[in-house]
Symmetry: C2
Subunit: 338 residues, 2 copies
């Protein structure tokens, strides 16, 4: 099959890779309906994360089940399924508490920018749609695999909800979908922090009530200005840098909640400042599996259209261009046609 391999920062190639096979009896193999590039793929692309060897890329997937292992009970060939970047058994104590991305048997799923994908722990990991969806819904379901589920976790961790003022730091796909999630969760006011016109537009479409273009300390001051000097109740950090985390913490009122879902890069938190800030801090790799049934329902009845974050679509063979467009911020998120 064909699949994306990153050889070095900036060097993304589409190559012949081995077709995935059932390895464990709990595996499934799915034929991808579409694939995509994640903001976190840009960390190694930009050389921020090390890349010790050529690496098959991609961890977002949705598609048709081709084959299942002998012990798979609930997932069947022919179903359209969605999974997340960590396979999980969905039965352990941690999964049952809603933290499937920390499942005691979790396994990373990697290499999904390809035609096929092996998924371990298929029964625990994959969620099938009621029927094979119309083609126009595929980008929405694919978004649920990571960026929507991650934005949803950020909004949940930040306790976005009725009566709350929510601020979102980061205008990538995750930040924009955190806006959508906050709206669905009933937040009263949603402030998107963005200085990019197309992203501001999408944020407003997803339910933002205010746009703040300032960053850093000026951004914090602006959020305070909009919240009676107190800060937002709920702040979602969707970048993962020291600056964005400082902006998120500074924008939160005492007793408020920060939900952080940007993969932390060189972030160090000062214990004393955190202590006196009185914020609640929660985040990490999103337990997307927890939210999939709910998200599938919202997408299926066309209540939400998270696939709008895909503002560039290229064939899998042109994945390099898809990466480049995101790196240069010409695209929010690239869908790869397989």
């Amino acid at each position: 099959m064909r699949g994306v391999v990153m050889h070095a920062p900036g060097d993304v190639r589409v190559e012949q890779r081995d077709d995935p096979k059932i390895v464990e009896p709990t595996d499934a193999v799915i034929r991808m309906s579409a694939s995509c590039v994640c903001g976190s793929d840009l960390w190694p692309y930009r050389g921020t994360d090390g890349l010790p060897a050529p690496t098959p890329m991609g961890h977002e997937y949705a598609g048709i089940v081709e084959e299942v292992g002998a012990d798979v009970r609930t997932i069947r060939p022919g179903q359209f399924v969605i999974g997340s970047f960590f396979a999980s058994d969905n039965t352990c104590e941690i999964c049952r508490a809603g933290y499937q991305s920390a499942c005691v048997h979790r396994q990373p799923v990697r290499g999904a920018q390809a035609q096929y994908q092996r998924v371990p722990l298929a029964d625990g990991t994959l969620v099938a749609t009621p029927e094979v969806p119309d083609a126009d819904l595929v980008p929405d379901y694919l978004a649920a695999s990571d960026v929507l589920g991650t934005g949803w976790f950020g909004a949940t961790a930040a306790q976005a909800g009725p009566g709350k003022t929510v601020a979102v730091v980061g205008d990538g796909a995750v930040g924009l979908l955190a806006v959508l999630a906050a709206r669905q969760l009933g937040a009263e006011r949603i402030i998107a922090m963005s200085r990019h016109e197309p992203r501001q537009k999408l944020a407003l479409e997803f339910g933002a009530t205010d746009i703040v273009t300032e960053r850093g300390e000026e951004g914090v001051a602006r959020i305070k200005e909009l919240t009676n000097g107190l800060g937002a109740h709920s702040v979602i950090e969707a970048v993962g840098t020291q600056q964005s985390m400082a902006q998120a913490l500074g924008s939160t009122r005492p007793g408020g909640h920060v939900g952080y879902v940007g993969v932390s890069h060189d972030v160090a938190l000062d214990g004393r400042a955190l202590f006196y800030s009185h914020v609640h801090l929660h985040g990490g790799p999103a337990p997307v599996r927890q939210y999939l049934p709910q998200l599938i329902k919202l997408i299926g009845d066309r209540t939400i259209e998270p696939g709008k974050v895909f503002d560039l679509e290229v064939p899998l063979e042109q994945a390099a261009e898809g990466y480049k467009a995101m790196d240069e911020r010409r695209a929010i998120k690239t869908l790869l046609r397989v």
Copy 2:
């Protein structure tokens, strides 16, 4: 009046100080029924915190109202009252959300190791008992002013409750009272981390079900051993050092809660480790005011006896010996008779 003044690390003196007076019309002046030394008073005593000038010490207080300012409405002379280390209006948006220690009008209360104390924002800060209590209850009420309220906040921030396994890092008065709080909040299992026999004994009396004597990584390993390899649901950090915070974070399962109430000293948190730990982190200076009505009731009907943390009692004039005994860990907490 007589009051404790710290002149330098290790140099605590009892001196003649000016009698406090009503300064603002919202003030009250109270005659202390007893005073005490806090674990946090040991930071400057040991030279960890700087001490730029001779400083009146003490921030825990309970006593009889002597006088109130012209604008005080609910607090009356003759009442027995308890307050906290931050005066608060108890009406602002932050107070109403339960974070009185971050009140927009908060003022620190200092100098309470003395015969009298001025308390600003008396109506918002002070809570009166239904009647002047029997003398034997005074230490219990005095404990509510800080260490009990702080332990209670730690347990609440860690979401201690039914079905939960709770671990407590720190066997000072706050850690021990966090054990008591976790018991009152209905926790199923409470693991006290202590290697000091008298403190272990008090922890068991307050409701601990297990004692762990190991510290650091060995302590973490022991907590995991006791929790099916997962870590505790709720961990209370009641020390404030890098080591104790690492021990608390390491002892918490993914999706679990750390409530940290030890005043942070040189604590730095690695963002990436925190991200992948999946814990909830919440803490800060405890909003004791929020809990006072409930704590007063539990003390008044003799459900709890938090005053047991006072295992040394000396006259105010011998405050220096009270500090020394705590510094040398001969005493858990010193009560000063005034």
